[in-house]
Amino acid sequence: MNRNDKAVMLREKARELRKTALIMIHTAGSGHPGGSLSAADFMAALYFDELNIRPGDPTWPDRDRFVLSKGHVCPILYSSLALREYFPYETIYTLRKQGSILQGHPDMKVCPGVDISTGSLGQGLSTAVGMALAGKRDGRSYRVFCLVGDGECQEGQIWEAVQSAVKYELDNLVIIVDNNNLQNDNTCDVVMPTGDLRFKFEAFGCEAYGIDGHDMDQIVDVLETIRESEKKLPKVVVGKTVKGKGVSFMENVVMWHGMAPDKEQFDTAMKEVEEVTV
């Protein structure tokens, strides 16, 4: 597939992911749409192109790992797993329901494709470091991708984890920062400014890139650059994103961090996502 066709295909997948996430959250009546939508383009590129995975064999030892450190946006992860057929698509209607494999935050014990349970911010990256280190020590060629939020970078443990990734030369670790500048209470700038995150990761010793996290051409390019890099450094992509991306009334609106759309809002949201030209 040529570069242009790939980007078109991934943009189409991102649209499907957004729709699936919206259906899940609307059906559940609760969940986190804002961050799910801002991460959708990255998730499409990972699950439909970059990750070396076998949905039929979710514990394959040589698989690439994915750690959703910002566990609350699991609807976008579950959408990716559903569309890659880790479980039947209809499972999406059980999000947050009793007995569902789609818990309110990811539970690795019950959901195939979830490599680690997350939900408490700041912790996932450390587990990704452990996975990447085990891969190095065992001589395996898999890589570990970890999606963190920008607000999450206010947690000190993120920087503890980055230090250890640099020390152990984890060039098989790719950290993706969903830099949407919004968090639970307000914008990051108001709650606790995160500063220039690309610069911070670089200062800690990572190979860091800054891109537009909704531009599929840039996402594909940066993932390729990282794949081919020979530097023994952990990789970081800080993607400038828009919280709620794709749904006009959710974009950059704080309250859509953790609120489900009602029927009318849901219909409008689905229509808008459907109408975006790929």
Binding site: Q123, S126, G130, E160
Partner: protein, 309 residues
């Protein structure tokens, strides 16, 4: 006193385990020297990680390693291993049921001169509250060596608490220990003394004194406070009904509490808890700190005699 610190036993046991099993990892947080993991790090660098002074990350890295089939022992002090990374243990170890061990020196008042900041007096209680956690403290060097190996064989999260300073030998190298199973040091019928950890030697002396006075004492080493050996505690309630618990830990939420919970639910039997009286320690001799909290041979004996009246 002839004895040895149980942290020394940990250092020896983990090295032996690491030699036998390449999946055994040590995750240090800059206090490997104090926790006796330096020989492991020198001989088995490929199984050793040192994340620096960053306990929260240590726990997360261990969890990640465990998802890849490793058996990591996060090694630090009791205060940090139980509280600085408490929520990491909950979220990334216990909830996902990962095979991570938390091995901690400086339990209770054993780092006496270090002062309160380094004396883990509430650690076992904190971790006892987390679903799926196993919590234990060996009584001496020999028990520690066996229980470290038992923890490595056990599938799931285990917290092991060791002493900084030497504690007397109680067992010999042939003694066998099983996680969750009390070790019966003495059989008796007048009173049951249930103790663990560094305080076992105090309990043993008290039992001997009571015996010298003509009383029959059952003495249990309850090295595992969770899961508690309910069969052994039930037997104490049914057959004796008088129980004294002794621990180098806060009387809240530790061994004494665990035993009381069972006794209360049974609705019979009496318990006297001897332990740290819900207060911090200070820089002082170990014996002074125990004395200040009534963790003494004399107090155990008198408590038993009061029960006989």
């Amino acid at each position: 006193m002839t004895g040895k610190a149980t942290r020394d036993a940990y250092g020896e046991a983990i090295l032996e385990l690491g030699r036998e099993n390449k999946d055994i990892y040590v995750v240090d947080a800059d206090i490997g020297k104090s926790c006796k993991t330096v020989p492991f790090s020198r001989e088995l660098p490929g199984q050793h990680v040192n994340v620096g002074i960053a306990e929260q990350n240590a726990c997360g890295v261990a969890a990640g390693l465990a998802t890849c089939g490793k058996i990591p022992f996060v090694t630090t002090y009791a205060v940090f291993g139980s509280m600085r990374m408490s929520e990491q243990i909950r979220q990334e170890v216990c909830y996902p049921k990962l095979n991570v061990k938390i091995a901690c020196s400086h339990g209770g008042f054993t780092p006496a001169n270090d002062g309160a900041s380094h004396q883990g007096v509430e650690d076992m209680g904190v971790l006892r509250s987390i679903p799926g956690m196993t919590v234990l403290m060996p009584a001496d060097y020999y028990a520690a060596k066996k229980l470290v190996k038992a923890a490595a064989d056990y599938k799931g999260a285990v917290y092991l608490r060791f002493t900084r300073d030497p504690v007397p030998f109680i067992y010999d190298e042939d003694a066998e220990f099983e996680i969750g199973k009390a070790y019966k040091l003495k059989e008796g019928k007048d009173v049951a003394i249930i103790a663990n950890g560094d305080i076992m030697s105090v309990a043993l002396k008290a039992a001997e004194e009571l015996e010298a006075k003509g009383h029959s004492v059952r003495l249990l080493d309850m090295h595992t406070i969770k899961p508690l050996d309910e069969e052994a505690v039930n037997a104490c309630i049914d057959e004796i009904g008088k129980i004294i618990t002794v621990e180098d830990h806060n009387i809240l939420n530790g061994l004494g509490s665990a035993v009381c919970e069972m006794v209360a639910e049974k609705g019979k039997g009496i318990v006297k808890r001897i332990g740290i009286r819900d207060q911090f320690g200070e820089s002082a001799p170990y014996e002074y700190l125990l004395e200040k909290n009534g963790i003494t041979v004399d107090n155990i004996v008198k408590s038993a005699e009061r029960m006989f009246r």
